[in-house]
Symmetry: C3
Subunit: 277 residues, 3 copies
């Protein structure tokens, strides 16, 4: 079965099962993450206190760890919840927001990576390079590098992702102009999306929440990552195309959530620009 068909089937599962997706995340994009999780069919719960994260994650089908506005209080909760999720076989996704920008951020991302078995790591190229130990530059929380189709940088990034995925036995997802998803064996690329998406805060975080939602109904973690990333890209480009000349990034954010809410098999089949090597 083609990847797009599998994604469509997974979306139907997700909408039927409404998996609880526990987020320990940042206070910048948390509302958008909750709303996009609901829009795709998941049930988000945001809880970060050390006194309840063990109990909360026990109820969940997936755990999202996002270090966007990390602080010492929530970092401890991330580790406790992540380890409990591991004990219970609940998949965990890490979004290492801004890794590479400051030593603290890099350290925390690495500590999470070393102490929690991760199903997926999703980041931009700078963040993933940083975690892998390659020198790079993160501009605040945005990547300083990007990958275009058919470039040498793309080949290099694929190799890095594959090698990282094998080393950690996890799925590595690098999002950018071209998205790369690999479990170390299979290699997928997605060419959906539009560059205007980088002009909204949280498109990366929302993408991670979508993957978290798909993880809640899929044992194939690479497929879950692919589904989340394709859903985000497809919705982003539909939302962009819907904008009138007077509309801009304020409206765009609403439309992305609208489009995720209305996403269906037809749209995925028609729009998806997915390659599997």
């Amino acid at each position: 079965m083609e990847a797009k068909n599998k994604i469509a089937r997974l979306l139907n599962n997700l909408r039927e099962k409404n998996p609880l997706v526990h987020h320990i995340t940042n206070y910048v994009t948390v509302n958008d993450c909750a709303n996009i999780t609901l829009a795709i069919g998941g049930a988000p719960v945001m809880a970060d206190d050390i006194n309840e994260v063990r109990d909360m994650v026990t109820l969940a089908s997936a755990l999202v760890i996002n270090i966007g506005t990390l602080n010492s209080r929530t970092v401890e909760s991330m580790l406790v919840a992540g380890q409990r999720a591991n004990e219970l076989g609940i998949p965990v996704i890490l979004d290492p927001v801004g890794a590479g920008a400051t030593p603290y951020r890099t350290d925390i991302a690495r500590i999470v990576m070393e102490n929690v078995k991760l199903a997926v790591i999703r980041g931009n190229l700078s963040e993933i390079k940083t975690l892998y130990g390659v020198n790079t530059l993160t501009k605040g929380v945005d990547s300083s590098e990007d990958i275009s189709a058919k470039s040498d940088a793309l080949i290099e990034a694929k190799n890095l992702a594959k090698s990282f995925a094998r080393k950690l036995n996890t799925v590595i997802a690098i999002t950018g102009a071209v998205d790369i998803i690999t479990d170390g064996e299979r290699m997928f690329t997605v060419e959906n999306g539009h560059k205007i998406m980088s002009k909204i805060t949280g498109t990366g975080c929302m993408c991670t929440s979508l993957i978290g939602s798909f993880l809640g109904v899929s044992e194939d973690y690479a497929l879950a990552a692919l589904a989340g990333i394709a859903a985000m890209g497809i919705s982003g480009e539909i939302a962009y195309e819907s904008l009138s000349s007077l509309e801009g990034t304020g409206t765009l954010k609403c439309r992305i959530i609208d489009t995720i809410y209305n996403l269906n098999e037809d749209t995925i089949m028609k729009r998806g620009r997915i390659n599997e090597e």
Copy 2:
């Protein structure tokens, strides 16, 4: 005078007096709570630091305590602010978000309930059952149960609400497909709203903020709760009806706030589906 007329009159009062509504609330839906408070005519202030909550609540006409993303730092502030509000006769509303999901959340909701005299408690059926001490299941922060019109569950929920309201001498408001509001004597039900509202995060929190705003101008706490719940339900259904086939939950949230902003006596009289027993 009919309930709907009283609500319309209260709305006019609210828009004239712009009461300050102090919120100690979660970081997921806080922006929406502030905006809906402004849209209905209140003046929101969000402040949770122990060093200022006593002073802030002193300026306020109502206090909203919402445990959506509770942590030990803010719990202390909730108690201090709540007790200060009690001393000054300022009405306090509790939103026990997710009570029942984790022991910590349940404990904190109970501690607030036992240490602060509450004007209103608003929650979904699972949350209210949990606080009342009945076994139930809370799925994350969403109710695992719901009430439909004319069902046995509705009769049972009404009895529970009435008994709880009498025991605590407070107003109990249970929101769901049918909303129940009672002060232990009067019993109101509201049948406005649409199920799509549960696909946006924070419709419950926003409803609590609306009630908080009405509490700022009403000594009849049951009426304030009824007004907030009816306003939310009416706006939700108008917002839903306004959606085109390409729009979804992203646009819906904006439209709910739009509709609250434009809400007037005519709409309440025409749309309100309120019963008093």
Copy 3:
């Protein structure tokens, strides 16, 4: 060159250079601040942990300190980041949200003001009066006073702003029905905007973020403040004019961000109501 031409040129610079704007801000309006910073052409980063703020601000072109939901943890970060910014010559803007409402808030705003060299302070009249030491009343986080065109209050406010700016050797910006911007020598007023903007939370915070973005590309701090304030006012009135009779403050917020995203030289030249004395 006329002020409006200078603003237009600065906007072009901003869109070319995408300066990193480090925010230590509140959790109520943080998402809107990030999105409006992106919309005007800046690159926002929100980071408040004491372990990383020194490193993060080092990468930035401007620092925004906003005390909207201050707490002891973030206050320390504000001081550390602010002092590091001073060492590096990175401009710092303070938004003293709610100064005057509680003693704690007033104290913290003063402590920041005394320990960090500020490029700009932007607040409403109550907040600025409080910081200057004049008796006033802050209603929650909103001004209890406002200034209309050609009033005595306007003359008084201008004098206060000028005197404060000279005393502190900073730019003072008071926003209201008429906005006042002065570095103690030059005095600008802006008469753009619409009163409906006060019915959305965060228009003040977003204005501060716009100024922060312009500070990232301008050594003339008064011009940066003027540019941010004019951009906000112009966008607010365009957004307001675009509303249909069924739309309200929910849609308005999206449209303000849309309009900032689409803002260009023509709109500034045509719409700007700026006076320089």
